[in-house]
Amino acid sequence: MTATDQRPAASRRRRAPARGGGSKVLGAIVGLALAAGAVGLQTLGLSADEMSMPLVSAGDKGEEVATGRFTIRVDGVKTAKSIRVADKTAVTGNVFLVVETSATVPQEPLKIRPPVLVADDGRRFDTTDKVDRSKTLANVWSQPGWWTSGVFVFDVPADALAGAKASFVAPTNAFYSEPTLPAAEVDLGIDEAAAKQFAAAPQDVYTLGEKK
């Protein structure tokens, strides 16, 4: 018994140094590569600012862009020099971009939050406060089963028009904050030529609140 046990043990011991030299080096290289890989992967992680951004569903003008909570469709885009609401006229030194929008929800009614216009260079414009918010789609309940339509108005410089997208983020809750809100980002389909056209020939007056 003891003899048969000892023999393989001894032979293993004899072979071990011959194999060990190469495998140690190989092991070190593999270990270093794994460690370097792990460190390298950290650079792909999201920054804290990026982590707090919404989860985006993307789409184009005319398409229905659905998030879990609401569906947005941008029907048309216009530019104007002034916006008339009731008897007040808002003017701008830049250009008013009117985004005609329709919305519906799958389940719970909500009011669409005013979108943010994301320019091609990354600038983010809020909807203008020169136009009364209560006259925009932000003041209308979107309900399940049918589409509600309205507009959102931006006051932007002409160089922000080309390639602009409208980003609709879900309404936040006053009682708790959510880590990643759903958002719908709609490409407004303004190419260079259209942007030039929009900037050069805006409508004189766009009248809000007219029943169509």
């Binding site: 804290a48 007040k88 006229t89 830049n94 600038r123 406060d129 006051d155 932007v156 410089p157």
Partner: protein, 220 residues
């Protein structure tokens, strides 16, 4: 051969250590008398003139003028209102829309661009601090500084009926810096502060001052 040491001469007195001690004590004393190392008088913030570009970190600002504006009463039962208007040309250098804000003159409090105006002499007291806005058209106003768009911002202080319009104002402006939240690592624009070395109290630093005459009402 070495010389015999010590025995015949008088024993050396240890002078080096007390001498160094005395020198250090004198140096510390002189420093303390001059106000210490940390509290030498700060350089006064640079004085900016009208039309000069001021780098406020988040904003590029240009002071235009200070003037008195009178709003005539709309009816005979209302009264005329007088305002001290400080006019700026402001460009928002971030990539999002920022409110022009309110609460100018109240250190630290306030929002938007207005809070970078931390002090004005003479002080004009009001409940909420001065309001900042961008006039647009005849009677329209906006309170949004859109990214990269130079805007004419008015900071408006209402004057009391009895109050004398100041002939001159001095303004202190702060600067904003992009800072990282120590815990959440999110970034935010915060005013540059300085810390009092003794009380550890942090105050917003005035990095620019502006002194300007006030254009009186009726003046062109």
């Amino acid at each position: 051969m070495t010389e015999p040491s010590g025995a015949p001469s008088t024993p050396k007195r240890p002078v080096v250590v007390p001498a160094i001690g005395l020198v250090i004590l004198t140096a510390v004393g002189v420093t303390a008398l001059l106000g210490g190392l940390d509290t030498t008088p700060d350089k006064p913030p640079p004085q900016m003139a009208a039309g000069q570009k001021i780098d406020q970190g988040l904003y590029e600002t240009e002071f235009v003028e200070a003037r008195i504006t009178v709003q005539r009463a709309a009816s005979k039962f209302a009264e005329d209102r007088r305002y001290l208007d400080i006019l700026f040309k402001v460009t928002n250098k971030s990539d999002t829309t920022i409110p022009t804000g309110m609460g100018a003159g109240s250190t630290g409090a306030g929002t938007g661009f207005a809070r970078t105006l931390i002090k004005m002499t003479p002080e004009i007291k009001s409940q909420w601090g001065a309001q900042a806005f961008i006039p647009s058209g005849e009677d329209g106003k906006s309170s949004q500084l859109h990214p990269g768009v130079p805007s004419n911002v008015t900071v408006r202080y209402e004057l009391d009926k009895a109050a004398q319009a100041p002939p001159e104002v001095a303004l202190s402006l702060s600067k904003l810096e992009k800072t990282e939240h120590p815990l959440f690592r999110t970034t935010n624009w915060m005013p540059v502060e300085k810390e009092d070395p003794f009380t550890r109290k942090r105050t917003i630093e005035a990095l620019y001052t502006i002194k300007a005459p006030v254009k009186q009402e009726g003046a062109p």
